[in-house]
């Protein structure tokens, strides 16, 4: 962009370059954001920078479920009201937040930290699968349910299958998320794969 060469301040230029490294933020937006920050009181800018730098220094991960946390054990694992024998396996921190936002789940989580993807060079050993198996083995596996809440794409299915193979000998219950029509979806516009899964996974009608 023409604007890049027109900086009269390398400080501003550095800030714009840093901000435009964020995904979905172009150099024009980055300039707008940097100039916005520049107009703020000094302490607001420093607070902004401080709260970001603390992402590098203060963030920890729960030693049980690998969720982001301020403490060694995250608030979800530490909550005695949550069902410790129901472990929901998710790809990322964000998925935990999405499921928590539903208010429908009362068990605990296990964050894999990614998904098996040969293309992206992510293998099983890059994820917390070994820790999951150890965690289930430590409990009474026959009383434990592992819910595989991964994406419905090829990588998700592969990861589900790999984890299933690791867990089946322990004898725990292994479930997966219901797939089917979305809430309020119109039958007419559903793709045939989704509709097929919806029929195969049909449930008792309980009015």
């Amino acid at each position: 962009m023409a604007i890049q060469g027109k900086f009269t301040s390398s400080t501003l230029q550095d800030a714009v370059e840093s901000i435009s490294s964020l995904p979905g933020v172009g150099s024009r937006s980055a300039l707008r954001l940097a100039l916005h920050l520049l107009k703020q009181p000094r302490e607001n800018i420093l607070h902004f920078a401080e709260s970001v730098s603390r992402l590098a220094t203060d963030v920890r991960y729960c030693s049980v479920c690998h969720m982001i946390s301020d403490t060694d054990i995250c608030p979800i694992c530490a909550d005695t009201r949550r069902l410790q024998f129901q472990i929901c396996v998710v790809e990322s921190v964000r998925d935990v937040m999405s499921i928590e936002a539903t208010g429908q789940y009362h068990g605990v989580y296990h964050v894999l930290g990614g998904i098996i993807s040969p293309i992206a060079g992510v293998g099983p050993s890059d994820l917390t699968i070994k820790e999951l198996v150890a965690r289930v083995a430590e409990k009474n596996p026959s009383d434990t349910e592992v819910i595989l809440a991964l994406s419905g794409d090829v990588e998700g299915e592969t990861t589900c299958f790999y984890i299933y193979r690791q867990l089946e000998r322990l004898g725990c219950r292994i479930t997966t998320l219901a797939r089917g029509l979305g809430f309020g979806d119109d039958l007419e516009y559903a793709d045939s794969l989704t509709l097929g899964r919806s029929i195969a996974g049909r449930q008792e009608f309980k009015p």
Copy 2:
């Protein structure tokens, strides 16, 4: 948003709140950006934070034209090839960058730092108008051209008129940006005010 109450880490929550204070960044985007930063190497996060905090600590403004600068005199004012007797008056730092990007202007600038707006509570004394008048008076005013490059809205017109009144007794030349049809604009779709200005400001045809 439901997601707000679901943070298991106050560090992440603080970062998300800071990022979502930026204009045009909602809480979902802020979460996405914070999680993206979190995945970066530690030194990248710290570099990001550092480059933002330097906006609070290292940014200076040119003592002549009030443009953002690393030094007391900005590179534009310090450039001896630029016409020091042609002063383009703009509202903000960003306008200087936009005009510089055209490559069509070879004079210097004067950044007002805002525009007169009774609604926003910005009066002439909040801007660098006094400094502009002093700057013109110090030069040989009869050789000096002041180009008023402000927005075409009511605030812009008011500010132009105020500055004109301050400068006219000095005897400098005062010009304003050409208003008219944009490059490539279709006559049929132009609003009548713009078209009217285009006719009134018509120029010799020089093929």
